[in-house]
Amino acid sequence: MTPLVVSIVAAIASVVLILVVLELIRSRRLRERYALLWLLTGVVLLALSLWRSGLNTIAGWVGIETYPPAVLFAVGALFVLLVLLHYSTVISKLHDQNTVLAQRLALLEQQLRERG
């Protein structure tokens, strides 16, 4: 069984994550679109922290017999990977758009110079 203190600390950490993300959205430093995965991470980790018997069951499924909280680390790590992968796609799109913007700007400048 998961030690109670582990569950409490994990739950507090999840709540802090959720609150930080909400504050970042409120102050317009994070768009809702890019906050959803973080919020999902927080909610899943919070649920697994509070639902102690569930954590045990899941640990059993995946063959973790000695220390169920390892599932928390695994799930946390999985979500961080997902977020990173998501951001890689976002950066790729921004990169492409940035190229288009630079080209458009250069072409416009060239037109202006030839007219000017």
Partner: protein, 255 residues
């Protein structure tokens, strides 16, 4: 057009000397944009038309320019919020006193613009929204989408303490005050619900009038099944967080 005929005489355009513009956001709508432009002119030839081409890969920009509309071409797809805000910026910078939004897919019927303009011209509202659901008839969207819209409508009604029936309608008319606000800040994807919250927080006057909408004439809806889930979660989150946001400053008049 046939279903509109049941209506008793639609109001015609008010004969006023204000500079007015129709903002037409369009993404790959070469099939429907020409008739939208022509119907706007049929309603009132004094309306200038700006087509915001949101990174189309078809001939949208070309057919619009061919009909003499102003065409603003975005270098890549910004989504409806970014496209519409481009239109508001254009309207603000070019000194328009009155703007209407008519989507390029043909679902908004320009013949009904008189209904939207009434409260603006009478100075009873800063922004008027055409609602599909406050009267019978017309195209009212699919069942699942109607349920989603009604959840948003109820939530928004509670927040703004006023009955909102169609919070996702983009068929709108705005005066200069509302144009200045949206030119400064407009929500990104799926903007209308959050925009209504902004209007409420800025204490602008918003009102709904019943209109009938049409099924899109050509092209594809921008919202699929998975996107609908994202839509609901994103908009509910934005509504909740938006309540605690500081207000932005509307664009200032330079003169």
């Amino acid at each position: 057009m046939a279903e509109v005929a049941t209506e008793t005489r639609l109001p015609t355009s008010p004969q006023l000397a204000v500079k007015r513009i129709a903002i037409v956001p369009a993404f790959n709508e070469e099939g429907s944009v020409p008739s939208v432009i022509e119907e706007i002119r049929a309603f009132d030839p004094d309306f200038e038309v700006v087509v915001v081409d949101d990174g189309s890969t078809d001939g949208t920009a070309g057919v619009a320019a061919g009909l003499g509309a102003h065409v603003v071409r975005l270098p890549f797809n910004l989504g409806i919020g970014g496209a519409v805000q481009t239109g508001f910026r254009y309207a603000f910078e070019q000194g328009f006193e009155l703007a209407v939004r008519v989507d390029g897919d043909g679902q908004h019927d320009p013949a009904q613009l008189g209904l939207l303009l009434g409260p603006i011209v009478a100075d009873e509202a800063d922004i008027v929204v055409g609602s599909r659901f406050s009267s019978d008839g017309g195209y009212r969207s699919s069942r699942s989408r109607r349920i989603g819209i009604s959840i948003l409508a109820k939530t928004l009604s509670v927040i703004v303490r006023r009955r909102v029936t169609d919070p996702t309608s983009g068929f709108q008319a705005l005066n200069r005050k509302a144009i200045a606000l949206f030119a400064a800040d407009y929500p990104h994807d799926y903007p209308e619900v959050e925009a209504a919250l902004m209007v409420h927080k800025h204490e602008l006057r918003m009102t709904e009038v019943p209109v009938q909408m049409r099924e899109r004439a050509a092209g594809q809806s921008s919202i699929g099944a998975l996107a609908s889930v994202y839509y609901m979660v994103k908009v509910m989150l934005a509504l909740f967080v938006g309540l605690f946001r500081k207000n932005v400053t509307p664009l200032e008049e330079t003169k």
